[in-house]
Symmetry: none
Subunit: 236 residues, 2 copies
């Protein structure tokens, strides 16, 4: 990733943090003058990445070893006749290129974005699909969104399966036990009208099915209701 002419070290730090979050490691910073970005406090958890960042005098240097250079911009730049791809499509193109070469993703300065000169180094422009009325994003946020999209399809970013064994749904037998005890409680409490026992039974049964109860929750609920029923029956 290349940050061209970023002014605020905090933004460079934030960009580094997002890179680390999404598993990207090579950062190049292009600045005509030296910027004290390596100590940026915003690079929480990404100090090492920031330390390894390369400083380049020109964008030309920064992208020299890349086979695809992608500029980022909120604008359309129709006058430059640069192809523009929305982030989603852009991420696919970048992924494809990464099979065989290096890709530079270039962000401009906070205030003005990439200059016309900067853009001339780019093969095409990536546009984050923001509202037209307010398309200018914070630099760190724009970086995070782009890298999220790039990481999204990548299989290396693993997360654990969503739920373990304990997410097993309650069995019908569990539900039926719950049903019995809930109906008994309702009867003991006077909720069930004379002659409405069967209808209540059916209503409660359907209600419990709609809960989508996990086995462990059914057990929890059963414990609660048992206690309630026991108390209700004490008054006889």
């Amino acid at each position: 990733m290349v940050l061209a002419a970023a002014r605020n070290p905090l933004n460079i730090g934030a960009a580094a943090r997002a890179m680390s979050n999404f598993g990207f490691s090579r950062l190049r910073v292009v600045n005509p003058y030296s910027l004290p970005f390596r100590e940026a406090r915003s690079a929480v958890g990404a100090a090492e990445l920031l330390k390894q960042a390369e400083e380049c005098a020109t964008l030309d240097d920064a992208v020299a070893d890349c086979s695809l250079v992608v500029g980022t911009s909120a604008l359309q730049h129709r006058e430059l006749r640069h192809p523009v791809h929305r982030l989603e499509k852009a991420a696919q193109l970048i992924r494809t290129e990464l099979n065989t070469g290096r890709v530079a993703l270039v962000f401009g300065s906070e205030k003005t974005g990439l200059s016309k000169e900067d853009l001339s180094h780019c093969h095409w422009i990536l546009r984050i699909p923001t509202r037209e009325q307010h398309s200018s994003m914070n630099l760190g946020q724009a970086v995070a969104v782009c890298l999220y999209e790039l990481a999204r399809t990548r299989e290396e970013v693993k997360i654990r399966p969503e739920l373990g064994e304990e997410a097993r749904l309650a069995s019908s037998a569990d539900l039926e036990r719950l049903n019995q005890i809930l109906v008994q409680s309702l009867q003991a409490s006077g909720y069930v009208k004379q002659g409405a026992e069967a209808a209540t039974q059916g209503n409660v049964r359907r209600l419990l099915r709609r809960f989508n109860l996990q086995a462990i929750d059914a057990e929890l609920l059963l414990g609660m209701l048992r206690k309630v029923l026991w108390k209700l029956e004490q008054q006889g």
Copy 2:
């Protein structure tokens, strides 16, 4: 969007900017003490949105009119047994719910994220697919990534086939009423151990969220529990 216990006004401003970029407008800020966030310079282009932001004393208040409350967390919270959905899947679920109800997307504080108590108000947890070794994101960046994904799927997710009024999910206020009365019943029945009131409250709150209750079922259940509680209290 709900920011719970954010410490840094600049992050609140950055969140507001991302909301404006991606076309979201309702921001609620939960803070025990007043924070001078309305002047945050980071809300470039989103000053009006920030001005309209509502301040809430508690998360409970902030999500009262929402039928789906989604917490964000980098962690797995297996011990709390909250379902976890990756951002992509989460965005689809949120989109679907937005057809019929209001959704709260809740972010915690920069340092510690959402508390256990905060999470007990959430139906499930959204996880941005970051690297396991460095999953903690900057707040403003996390907000931007989530809203990007939500905006991206805006057109993808088709309107649900006609669902009647009865399929509307219970609001957080409904669930909280249920929670109160169920906990009272459990206390009256002797289920709640001395000193375990707060833990029970949290357990029951999470349990009720897992039920995925429809509004009409919440009402049904409330009627049942009211009667049970009334009976329990009669014995004094």
